[in-house]
């Protein structure tokens, strides 16, 4: 590593200022996917 990396560097993703925000977004998407799959199973079962 030529330069020291900061664990808390900005993710550089539009709309997200911290990595915690990115993780929360991914977690939220996961919950939505599980919810969608549950509804899908209920709808067609």
């Amino acid at each position: 590593m030529t330069k020291k990396e900061n664990n808390d560097d900005s993710p550089g993703v539009p709309g997200f200022r911290t990595w915690r925000g990115v993780y929360l977004f991914v977690f939220g998407c996961f919950l939505l996917v599980v919810l969608a799959l549950t509804l899908f199973a209920r709808l067609y079962a």
């Binding site: 590593m1 990396e5 990115v22 996961f30 599980v34 549950t38 199973a41 067609y44 079962a45």
Partner: protein, 566 residues
Amino acid sequence: MNALDWIVLLGTIIGIAAYGTWRTRHTDNLNTYLKGNHSTKWGTIGLSVMATQASTITYLSLPGQAYENGIAFIQNYFGLPLALILVCAVFLPIYRKLGVYTAYEYLGQRFDTKTRLLGAGLFLLQRGIQAGVTIYAPAIILSTAFGWRLDLTIIFTGLVAIVYTVTGGSAAVNLTQKWQMAVIWAGMLTAFVILLLKLPANATHIAGAMGKLHAVDFTPDPQLRYTFWSGLLGGFFLSLSYFGTDQSQVQRYIGGAALREGRLGLMFNALFKIPMQFFIVMLGALLFVFYQFQPDTPLVFNQSAWQRQVQGPAGAEFRALEEQHAVLHAAKQEKIRAWVAAQSGGDITAEAAARTELAAAQKASDTLRKQARDTLYAAAPEAKKTRDSDYVFITFILTQLPHGVVGLLVAVMFASALSSKAGELNALGTTSTIDLWRAFRPLAAHDEARNVRNAKWFTAFWGLFAVGFALYVSFAENLIEALNIIASVFYPPLLGVFLVAFFFKKVGGTAVFWAALATQLLLLGLFFYGKDTVAYLWLNPIGCAACIGFALLFQALSPARPPATT
């Protein structure tokens, strides 16, 4: 396959391999050879992580598994996004900060040499075996379906992967995996669209009525193989072990231009892995519906083995089974049409009665299929090496897709075999060089050219080992589960060691070393003597908790308590 299919197949597979070899032929820097180019961006890392995890078994066997048992397997991936978040937040920054080549190098810095060697040894043992399985799995199915020689198929796949992985190391693996993923997605999407065009309008409702769309099951029963809870907890620990401590994955994201690139590559997988797997299992569920309406749906999909028996001395018995199948299949089609009519009529009572009759018809059909398979296995025991469901998707490809697309789909199978194989060989070669060879030859660590040369030799060795293993070892179990079962037995102690390293700073190397060994014995005991009471995914949390518990206990009993160094 005709000439067009062969051109597409060989052009794609050899073209990508040759491109990767040519572009990375001058890789003689150790860092680039083991970690890839410094400029690698998150997109390449994300695709590389995905390509390493998804082998041919994912694309070939998973649709068949969904055809047979429905899409419940999707729950196996529920723990994956959460595990990737933890890897991003804790594992990756530490690996990057210490500048290690392998995950086990970190264990050496945090604990001691014996713990590092134990970690590397557990990885080499289980990944070496899995490398044999991942090369054997597609070869046995493709060679049976196409009538190719199994040994030549294994050798061809193995040699192509060895050539470009040895030449360009991690840089070649990253580069080729990107293009291989493009071929895989192009092929799978094409097959999916063609399947959709061939389906009746209410195909999803029919799949649901026939019990193929139970995506989520909240039943808290540890004996059930796939439930929300086993997927969330077992899948979490399995994914954490795989992505956090398995060098074949760590190597994919540890390099890159910056910490950010590795993190975004992993978050890409956290977001898209479940949707991608859903797409593959839905392909299987819809194939099931497709084959309900085909007049010539095979009783057994391994037609190569089946037809040999039909035309053999006991052919009368097999033809009788086919005749029974034709009668049951026609009756089931009638029941499906009756259910569709009842459902569209809106009469709840009639719909329920039609559904009950349909379920009975399906049960009779399943019973006959099982009887046919048992009869086939009794007459031809070699057919038991693969599950019949492994031939569902390849049968669809061969009989329903136009020429050119057949070649593309077979290229998908080879591309996925090569991409996962290359990632594994790259990691096996790296771990052998850094954690074994260099650990015993510390003075040679500064001779970069010698390190690269050794890494190439070790990579070639593991490639040939995998080919030899695939040539001489028979696998009788379902292949996709065999991979997960091997991982569930060997991963948990390794993950336990890493979690102790990260979160229990007072525990030293000796305590965690013996804790890992004790846990491995416990898991082997549970696997061989308790597999009827505990589904294999549960071995992951049990093993991981046991390893941490043993480590804390051994440390408490230990007279000396060395301070943590990291």
